[in-house]
Amino acid sequence: MMTVESERDGPANDQEPGRGGAPEVVRIEHLSRVFGHGSGAVTALDDVSFSIRRGEIFGLLGPNGAGKSTLIRILTTLLAPTSGTARVGGFDLSREPERIRSVIGVCPQASTLDLELSAWDNLAFYGHLVGYPEKGLNDRIRELLASAGLEDRARSRVSTFSGGMRRRLEIVRAFIHRPQVIFLDEPTIGLDPEARHEVWEQIERLNAEETTVVLTTHYMDEAEHLCDRIAFIDGGRLIALDSVRNLRGLVPSGDVIEVGVEEVPEEMLERLRAHPRVEAVERRDRTLAIRAADGARLVPALLQVLDEAGLRVVSLSIRSPSLEDLFIYLTGKGLGARTGPPARGAKTGRRP
């Protein structure tokens, strides 16, 4: 396992003074969760340990079914772990769940807004539940609606809202009591690009108010854009954890040349791999991902090889390795969704 445990004075924190020594707001120790019994048992989380620092935006990244939501549900007191412990905001998960609930904000993956109520009523309901001071509540709701860009829809039923509006409302709702930590489970799933960017901006604004943000996502670009540090989760296990910059450093250097082709015969792969300057070749659907140092200068030679084999090239791009390349490098498989939102395959089902 290539876990890089929180290196407090590592290079990742050089450019972020003050965060290097930030205290932990979440500490997870050997957390496991098994659903079901006997032969039907499914291990959703398998001995996961790590810490989240105060003030950071922390990403839990992994494919669908990796165990991200289970981890969030355990940390937000909805599920009990099968074994292991965790502290959130300094409180023990099994002994002081009530204390934890008062210092966290949660935006679950499936919408939990009451569609029959107005935006205002939804926020007021939560304001009362979290014990927000009665006196300032109305001002707080106005402030949150403005921050979600919904002030003119305050009295409309949420059922009339678009997906992006609902998401923004749900995120500010989780933030109503200015929690220490806010958990966002797939905050941009199913949103169009514009709505995603609005949600991203919103998350960054909220983070600027000294709230630690823990978000899960299976979109690489989202994690790269937002997160200070990222934990890769796959099959219920922690695969890697570090700052985005350090994680990138784990991938062998060089560029990724992506060649779109109509078909890829097996022998073609062999021939490419045999090329002296090619470091690795992977096939992803109808795309060849070729890793090499100084990719731009290799392209003419590559095209020649492909041309000789009679393969038609339909597209070509050269880029620096992304987190997805890293994920593939670490686990040997893709995330299923490179950049969101995908038209299909979005996770909508809820597990218990």
Partner: protein, 362 residues
């Protein structure tokens, strides 16, 4: 067309099979109807408590008194238990007090002198259904046997109460139960089903707040629907409108029954996670509670095992209290036991509801 039909059919059928609880309930319901409904309705009424007393001044027991006490105590339909359970009183006043308290269904007053002009008087609790006619028929028949010519004078304590009025009072209780099925607890089940609950289980809101808030809103909904049906029942059955004092007590009873029934439904069905199961459980509860409440038919007509259930049935106390207030015009003292029972019941259900409510998923 065929493929679509088969697809729709098999999807629905799969869902049906995948919820064994609802499957079981759909099978149990008709059987429960047969057993509960069949036994609760139209059974032979036995063991009717009646008082027997000889008119003052009490000199000595007349032959008629002795004969009647013997005959009443042993009267029975073929193959059944004794129809009456005779309590002998030594003073007419105390016998009639017991009747007014609802301990007796009737009092037979035998004259101290037997003759054509000295009538046997029969005081009937006319707020019940079937038993007054049964008692009257029984006494009339037995008077012929000893060969006396004493006439029978019948006094109906609460006037002529027809079945419509008798049943109407029970329907008020049913209205309250119905609204507990629709409101209060159901909205919590819907929150589970829609996953909305996951949103507020992560807030610091207390488990007791969730239970009390849900039961509270259900209680108010039940109370309102009970009050509406009460007004409607008064209107269409032609019952006299009680005075403001009695009306207030009726409203108090309606409120307490609403609280009792809503908390019972919460305790039993509040942990269910889907509306189908909730509806199945409620249908069953409604059958059991309403049929054994005495709303339809006197509980004396039920077999012992079913009648034993009435002791823990809040609707039994509710129906009894409402009849006392509405049909018999009695006051608080007549329903003190009912109110205590319903109150204890509601408290127990709320406490159980709070302690058994799980604040986590699973």
């Amino acid at each position: 067309m065929i493929r679509g039909t088969v697809a729709i059919f098999s999807r629905d059928f799969k869902k049906f099979l995948s919820n064994p609880f609802v499957l079981l309930m759909t099978l149990i319901m008709p059987i429960a109807y047969l057993v509960v409904f069949g036994n609760a309705m139209g059974g032979a009424i036995t063991g009717v408590p009646i008082g027997l007393v000889q008119e003052d001044p009490y000199l000595e027991e007349t032959p008629l008194f002795l004969a009647l006490s013997e005959a009443l105590a042993h009267r029975a339909e073929p193959g059944r238990a004794e129809t009456f359970q005779v309590r002998v009183f030594t003073s007419e006043a105390s016998a009639r007090r017991a009747l007014a308290r609802g301990e007796l269904a009737a009092v037979v007053v035998v004259p101290s002198e037997v003759s054509n002009t000295h009538a046997v008087r029969l005081y009937l609790d006319s707020s019940e259904f079937a038993t007054p006619a049964l008692v009257e028929g029984g006494v009339r028949g037995l008077l012929v046997v000893p060969g006396t010519r004493a006439p029978l004078e019948v006094y109906r304590l609460y006037g002529e109460v027809n079945y419509f009025q008798f049943f109407g009072v029970g329907v008020i209780v049913m209205a309250i139960f119905m609204s507990t099925m629709m409101g209060g607890v159901l909205s919590l089940i819907r929150d589970w089903e829609l996953g909305i609950i996951e949103g507020y289980l992560v807030t610091p809101v207390k488990r007791s707040s969730i239970v009390l808030g849900t039961v509270g809103s259900g209680t108010i909904k039940g109370f309102l629907s009970g009050a509406v049906i009460y007004t409607v029942v008064l209107g269409i059955t032609g019952l006299p409108v009680p005075g403001p004092g009695t009306t207030l007590v009726v409203l108090l009873v309606l409120f307490m029954i609403s609280a009792g029934l809503t908390s019972l439904v919460f305790f039993i069905a509040g942990r269910l996670k889907n509306q189908q199961s909730f509806a199945a459980v409620n249908g069953f509860l409604n059958l059991l509670l309403f049929m054994t409440s005495g709303a339809f038919y006197p509980t004396l007509g039920m077999p012992d095992w079913l009648r034993a259930f009435t002791v823990v049935n809040p609707e039994y106390y509710a129906v009894h209290a409402l009849r006392a207030l509405i049909l018999r015009g009695q006051g608080l003292e007549a329903i003190a036991v009912d109110l205590t029972a319903i109150g204890l019941f509601a408290c127990a259900c709320i406490v159980l509801g709070i302690t058994t409510f799980r604040r986590t998923l699973e």
